[in-house]
Structure formats: structure tokens, C-alpha cells
């Protein structure tokens, strides 16, 4: 993955401090280093404070940027860290293999699970291979097939949501993007196994909910989930593409907003500074939270699991 930290615009002060620390640490020999130790410690304390100040008060738009951060752990990172003996499965058995969706069987704390995740890739080559995390109809049909397979063998499903949305192109429309998403939503409701959706980064509209008609919907602390991108909303409602910050605020797309609305069951805490700074801790902690929910859901009967999901969604917008 990415070796170098990529700083977001609003992280400028943190970047400056980090650079200074780096300079002090590297630009001197061992004897001198000792003299700098105190200053380095001081600066590191400052960074910590700055991170805290910044990351406890992220604006919605800043959250959008964090949620899309290139260094943020992606589906494949979760799979690599949490799933043993992962067996990737390919194809929709209809038209194609769409790597915008990675999916397969593996052991999660010894329990066989089906993982289905949207994958954005981490460098140009892998981004192209994974279609920038924007599935085509065959991607959703692959997801649907894997759900059916999991259900048939009574294997719980964990979906990882991280997409700007479904692929907007001629092929997508031609091959029934709308039908594919609708069927994937429907399939989720048919499951008689535990189904947990985790929004790990960007939950982009219809392309996201296709993988999120689950028993539990969890969201990383700085992830987003929205009916439309702030950019799209700004250009339609403000007729001004630069009104993204206003749009991000108006849309109420943060994990905290969604938890308040009852759309999200639990927010998965990220270390101060965000998942992209502390990838391993984030993924490990997410694993613990997912496991907790899975353990709870495993107590339900197959029929109750389907019922639980239906009732959850039927109740969802009746909140007054």
C-alpha cells in the first residue's frame, strides 16, 4: 500500500509539524539526535494535540475527504487482515468478472464467512483493474450470486461498502445497472444468514445500498453514506459545483448523522488522525466490532434473521 502519508488540505499544520519532526529525526547523526529528543517529543505532543483538535471536529466536507483518502484501508486490506484462507470467487455466471467487487469465502475468527466488498484500488494500475470501485451490472450480479451461495451453505455475509457509486457509462445502462442494483437489494432481504454491512469509506447512493440491506449497518467514524455526492448535490441544487461544503453539510452524510437517524447501528471508532494514519489499528478494531455483531446475530434462527432485516427497514423511516 501507500508508503508515504498523503496530507489533506486541512491537515497543512499537521503536515508542517510532521515534516519538522522527520527532519530532526533524520538530518542529524546519532550524537546530535539525543539533543533533539526533547524537541521531537515536544513536537510530537503538539502533533497529537493538533490531530485531536482536527479529528474531533471534522466538518462534513472534511469527513468526505477523509472517507475518500487514498491511504484509507480498503476492502482488500480488511480481508487481508481479518480473513484467513481467503478464497476469492469470481464472476456473475452471466456476463463477466467485475473486480470493482471483491468477494469470496474465508475464515473470520474461525467462522466461515462470505465477504463481499467494493474495492477502489490503491495505485493507478489497481484502480483501473478494480474499475475505481464503481461496479458495473456484472459486479452487482456477482455480489448477488455470492449472497445466494452463502445463503445456500448457511454462511454469514459481511459486506464492505466503499464506492463513489455504480459505474456511470453506456455499458452499465445497456446491461441493466438499475435492474442489477434492484435485484441485489432484493437478494439481501432474502438472506437467512447473518448479514452485516460496514461502510468503510464512501457509501455512494444506489451503488452502496445494493450491498447494505443488512441486519446490521456499521460505519467507520469518518466514513460517509449519502443519497448523492456533495458534488452532484451542489451542481443540481446550488447550480454551483463549488458549493460542495454546503452540500456536504446539508446532506447529513456523516456516520454521526446516520446514527442519529437510526440508519446506522453502530459507529466504529477510528484512532485520532483517522483510519488512513492508523490502518492496522482501525482494521483490527473494526474486526472486533463486526465480530461482536456477528456473534449476536448467530443466535437468531434463519427465519428470524430475514424478519429482523425486514422489520429494521420497514421501521426505518417511520421515525417521527
Amino acid at each position: 500500500m501507500a508508503d508515504k502519508t498523503i496530507y489533506l488540505d486541512f491537515e497543512e499544520p499537521i503536515y508542517k509539524l510532521d515534516t519538522k519532526i522527520q527532519e530532526l529525526k533524520s538530518c542529524c547523526d546519532d550524537k546530535l539526535a539525543k539533543d533533539f529528543n526533547k524537541e521531537i517529543a515536544n513536537l510530537e505532543k503538539k502533533t497529537q494535540k493538533l490531530l485531536e483538535e482536527t479529528y474531533t471536529k471534522l466538518t462534513p466536507w472534511q469527513k468526505v475527504c477523509v472517507a475518500r483518502h487514498a491511504n484509507r484501508p480498503h476492502s482488500i486490506d480488511y480481508i487481508n487482515a481479518l480473513i484467513e484462507n481467503f478464497m476469492p470467487l469470481a464472476g456473475d455466471k452471466l456476463f463477466g468478472e467485475d473486480e470493482a467487487i471483491v468477494g469470496g469465502l474465508g475464515f473470520f475468527n474461525g467462522q466461515a464467512v462470505m465477504v463481499i466488498g467494493q474495492e477502489k484500488g490503491h495505485d493507478l494500475e489497481s484502480r483501473i483493474r478494480h474499475g475505481f470501485g464503481m461496479p458495473k451490472p456484472e459486479g452487482y450480479r456477482k455480489a448477488k450470486r455470492l449472497m445466494e451461495l452463502a445463503n445456500h451453505f448457511n454462511i454469514p455475509i459481511i459486506s464492505l461498502v466503499d464506492t463513489a457509486g455504480a459505474f456511470p457509462g453506456i455499458e452499465g445502462e445497456e446491461r441493466g445497472q438499475a435492474e442489477a442494483i434492484a435485484s441485489c437489494i432484493m437478494e439481501g432481504f432474502k438472506m437467512e444468514v447473518p448479514y452485516i454491512a460496514v461502510v468503510i469509506g464512501e457509501g455512494g447512493s444506489g451503488g452502496a445500498i445494493a450491498l447494505a440491506t443488512a441486519n446490521r449497518i456499521l460505519m467507520l467514524e469518518h466514513s460517509i453514506y449519502s443519497v448523492i455526492s456533495p458534488e452532484g448535490c451542489a451542481s443540481i441544487l446550488w447550480r454551483d459545483g463549488s458549493a460542495v461544503k454546503k452540500a456536504a453539510t446539508a446532506l447529513h452524510l456523516t456516520a454521526q448523522d446516520l446514527h442519529k437517524f437510526g440508519v446506522v447501528d453502530e459507529i466504529i471508532r477510528e484512532p485520532l488522525g483517522g483510519a488512513h494514519r492508523f490502518r492496522d489499528e482501525t482494521v483490527k478494531h473494526a474486526g472486533d466490532v463486526i465480530w461482536k455483531h456477528l456473534t449476536e446475530l448467530k443466535k437468531l434462527s434463519p427465519a428470524d434473521l430475514a424478519k429482523d432485516r425486514e422489520e429494521k427497514f420497514l421501521a426505518m423511516s417511520r421515525i417521527a
Binding site: P168, E173, E179, S183, G206, S226, I236, E310, S317
Partner: protein, 287 residues
């Protein structure tokens, strides 16, 4: 059951019930530019008599066109939280809702009614494109859920006539959730082996196309209707190339396997009745 049946028996003339759109004006066909007199247009079910273009048909007219003897009763509009996000863009959402209600005389962009078609009891739901582009928020989603539940309780088929620009973005994530909820609505029908027929009219796009609209047991489209997930403009900007002729039109969707039949509005009632006859006339299952 939280249904109140408000029988209206609209044995009234077109002009009287649709005061908002006087039929004595001239309308211009968006396709062939012909000027058509309002009463002629209404009589022709808002199909251009010159080029056959299917214009938007308001819910009341759609109901009268479909139900036996133009008789039906509205299903009460669901009570939902208004403006759950306190949404403001250049103007605020509440005022948009208010003016849409004044303009359309409906609570929101979906209205359902119960009545008979060819003697079959049936629930028909219609989207109101004039209400904020027929966009789907809490009220539309809940309306569809309740229409489905009503159909299941009465053991009758459900017909949904779509016309929508997609999700109601002013209701944020809660509008997105209606894709799941309306899919669940359809699932209730399927679980009970009751027919659900989707009638897609111009335009049916975004989150509406990617949920209940595409899940009909039978999918009918009106001629030339735009049916799309992603907007043509977005696609064009993304791929930086021209789009094929007829892209995202009903005929294109049929060619690509997404639509069962394209039915002229004048034949719609008859075809729907035949379908109800067929899907209802199943032989008695063995002992």
C-alpha cells in the same frame, strides 16, 4: 390497519376535477411542436394526436383511465416526518414542499388508489412527476410500502405507474433508504404470490429505476419513455463521447432485455386487464 378509505367516486368531468390545468388552453407537443387544444389532448389521454408522443398524465387522469367505470378510492397518504434534515439549499425544502402541494393538490409525489380493473380488485399507485420531479423521499417510500401492504391484506395485485427523477435528495440518506423499503414492498407481493406489474412512464430514473421499478413480475413501458439509472449528461461527461441513438428510451430497454412490452397508453387498460386475467386464472393446485 391505518387505512382510511376516502371514496371519491370521481364521476366528474375532467375540467371540474383538474381545475389547476384548464383544458381550454392550447398545449405544444414537445416532440413535434404541434399546438393541440386542451380538450382534444385530454380526450386523447395526453397522447399527441399528430406524432403519438406520450405526455405526462396526472394521477387522477391515470386512475380514471385505468379503473373500471372511473371509480376508485384513494388510500390515505401516509404520515411521515416532514423535512427530516431541515434541508436548505438556495431556498428551503419546506417551502418547496408547500408550493408543490399547492400546485398539485397532493401531499407528495405518490398516490395510491383501490378499485377494480376488469372486475379484479387492484391497488394502483401513481407517481406524480409534477411534485418535485416525482422524487422519492419518505412519503413516496412509505406510500408504496403501505400500498403493498394494503394489496397483500386484500389479496389483490399491485400496479405501480412510475415517473420520477430519482431520489428526493433533500431527504438525504432517508430518501436512499426508500430504495430498500420499496424493494421490501415488492417482496411482500412476491412472498404472497400476488402479481406486481410495473408501468414505466417518462421519465423513470435514478433510485426509482434501481428499486421497485425494475422488479415487476411483468414490466410495461410507455412508448419512448426515458428509463435510466445514471443520467445521460453524467454519462456523457464521464465517457466524453456521444451516446447511441435512442439511448435509455423504452425501446432501447426492451432491446436490452429490461422491459417485457411497450404499450401505447390507449391499449394500457386492456392489456393490464388481460394480464390480470392471466395471472389470476391459475389452475387449482393439486390436492
Amino acid at each position: 390497519m391505518n387505512w382510511l378509505l376516502d371514496y371519491v367516486r370521481p364521476k366528474l368531468s375532467v375540467a371540474k376535477t383538474e381545475k389547476d390545468v384548464p383544458d381550454n388552453l392550447w398545449d405544444k407537443c414537445p416532440q413535434c411542436d404541434a399546438m393541440i387544444y386542451g380538450q382534444e389532448l385530454a380526450k386523447n389521454l395526453y397522447v399527441c394526436p399528430h406524432c403519438g408522443y406520450h405526455m405526462y398524465l396526472r394521477p387522477r387522469k391515470r386512475f380514471r383511465m385505468l379503473f373500471d367505470d372511473e371509480e376508485y378510492s384513494y388510500l390515505e397518504a401516509p404520515k411521515v416526518k416532514e423535512d427530516p434534515l431541515n434541508f436548505k439549499d438556495t431556498k428551503d425544502y419546506r417551502s418547496k414542499l408547500k408550493s408543490a402541494r399547492e400546485k398539485t393538490k397532493f401531499d407528495d409525489a405518490f398516490v395510491a388508489a383501490f378499485g377494480k380493473m376488469g372486475g379484479h380488485g387492484v391497488v394502483i399507485g401513481v407517481m406524480n412527476f409534477n411534485f418535485i420531479g416525482g422524487s422519492m423521499g419518505l412519503a413516496v417510500g412509505e406510500g408504496i410500502v403501505q400500498a403493498a401492504q394494503f394489496a397483500v391484506e386484500r389479496k389483490v395485485p399491485l400496479i405501480l405507474v412510475t415517473a420520477s427523477g430519482g431520489a428526493r435528495m433533500q431527504e438525504g440518506i432517508l430518501s436512499l433508504m426508500q430504495m430498500a423499503r420499496t424493494t421490501l414492498a415488492v417482496k411482500q407481493l412476491k412472498d404472497n404470490h400476488l402479481p406486481y406489474i410495473a408501468v414505466l412512464t417518462n421519465p423513470t430514473t435514478g433510485g426509482v429505476s434501481a428499486s421497485f421499478a425494475m422488479l415487476g413480475d411483468i414490466t410495461i413501458a410507455e412508448p419512448d419513455a426515458l428509463i435510466a439509472f445514471a443520467g445521460a449528461r453524467v454519462i456523457k461527461e464521464t465517457i466524453k463521447a456521444d451516446l447511441p441513438a435512442g439511448f435509455q428510451k423504452a425501446e432501447y430497454l426492451k432491446k436490452h432485455g429490461m422491459v417485457d412490452m411497450i404499450v401505447n397508453r390507449h391499449d394500457l387498460r386492456e392489456k393490464l386487464i388481460t394480464l390480470l386475467n392471466l395471472l389470476g386464472n391459475t389452475y387449482t393446485k393439486g390436492e
